[in-house]
């Protein structure tokens, strides 16, 4: 990561910029994809969005002020991009279709749910993926990405106390859920 931090981005140096994006993708491609997946819960969409995120980084590289680490900045771009997507008409339409499909009873679905709920571990991840987005986001960034609250604040533009409250609330929701499971 360190060598990335030292790359000075100059407007003339297009080749450098491309190289930097290439390195960013090699170093953080999977991490960004995983983060995006926790927002959109669909592999293909997550891959598409991750692609768009790196293109966006290329376009906005000049706006990266070296006050935060480049990783924090990358996550910020990613998180904003995902939220924009979740607000988009395209996504809402998809959601509606899913809701309609859920009204149609299917045996396969029940089996799937059963398999997923088999282990406690899986039910933890399941529960997290079911959390409302503002809670899911902070839980993933804090427990999966192991970021400090002030880093998360830099990524999401949410202040630290609000994040603390959300984490607390998320724990409560999860405990209630786990009790229900048992």
């Amino acid at each position: 990561m360190n060598e990335l931090e030292h790359v000075v981005v100059s407007k003339e140096n297009v080749i450098d910029k491309e190289q930097l994006i290439q390195e960013l993708m090699n170093e953080n491609g999977d991490a960004v994809l995983h983060l995006v997946f926790t927002y959109v819960k669909n592999q293909t969409i997550a891959e598409d969005l991750t692609q768009e995120i790196f293109i966006k980084c290329y376009e906005k590289l000049e706006q990266f002020n070296h006050q935060s680490s480049i990783k924090t900045w990358l996550y910020r771009v990613a998180s904003n991009h995902c939220k924009d997507y979740l607000k988009s008409w395209h996504y809402r339409k998809l959601l509606l279709n899913e809701k309609i499909l859920n009204y149609i009873p299917s045996k396969a679905k029940d089996v799937e749910v059963e398999v997923i709920a088999k282990s406690e571990e899986a039910s933890l991840t399941n529960a997290v993926m079911e959390l409302p987005i503002q809670f899911r986001e902070v839980v993933i960034l804090h427990y999966y990405e192991e970021l400090h609250l002030n880093e998360i604040s830099a990524i999401t533009s949410v202040n630290v106390n609000t994040l603390k409250t959300r984490l607390k609330r998320a724990r409560e929701i999860l405990k209630a859920y786990m009790v229900e499971e048992v």
């Binding site: 297009v14 997946f37 790196f54 290329y58 899986a122």
Partner: protein
């Protein structure tokens, strides 16, 4: 204080992200998009010679973009030096104009001359006729619009 999320990282890795990886193919697509953006933002008008050397390089067989560009460099055609993205923009344009046709082989995009493309080539070798339908000059004017 038992924290319900303590094992989250481990179990996410095992359950959710197991087969989730940002593939090289996806990275390549990002690079292609970056190239396209770069060339469209600095699109200058190409010279007749440049188009001609592209058409000539495809006279014998179909080639993919990288082959075309290396051949152009060998022929001292420097328009695309450090700016290979523009070559792809131009190839794309020629494809739209049905001067070239493209096909995919083993993950590479190959370009070949169409009948129309050959007419442009032929027209260029017998200059001097005033009224000719296939003049590179006219193509160029469209390209720089």
């Amino acid at each position: 204080m038992n924290d319900p999320f303590l094992n989250l990282k481990k179990s996410m890795k095992k359950n959710v992200f197991k087969d989730l990886s940002f593939t090289d193919e996806r990275k390549t697509r990002v690079n292609e998009a970056i190239q396209a953006k770069r060339s469209s933002s600095s699109l200058h008008s190409f010279s007749e010679e440049t188009i001609l050397s592209i058409l000539k390089s495809l006279q014998i067989e179909a080639k993919h973009g990288f082959e075309i560009s290396t051949q152009l460099f060998q022929k001292e055609e420097q328009s695309f030096l450090h700016n290979e993205g523009q070559l792809y923009t131009l190839l794309h344009f020629l494809e739209n104009k049905e001067v070239l046709v493209s096909m995919w082989r083993e993950d590479k995009k190959y370009y070949a001359l169409t009948a129309k493309g050959r007419k442009y080539l032929a027209a260029d070798t017998k200059k001097g006729y005033a009224k000719q339908p296939f003049l590179l000059k006219d193509l160029l004017e469209e390209a720089s619009l």
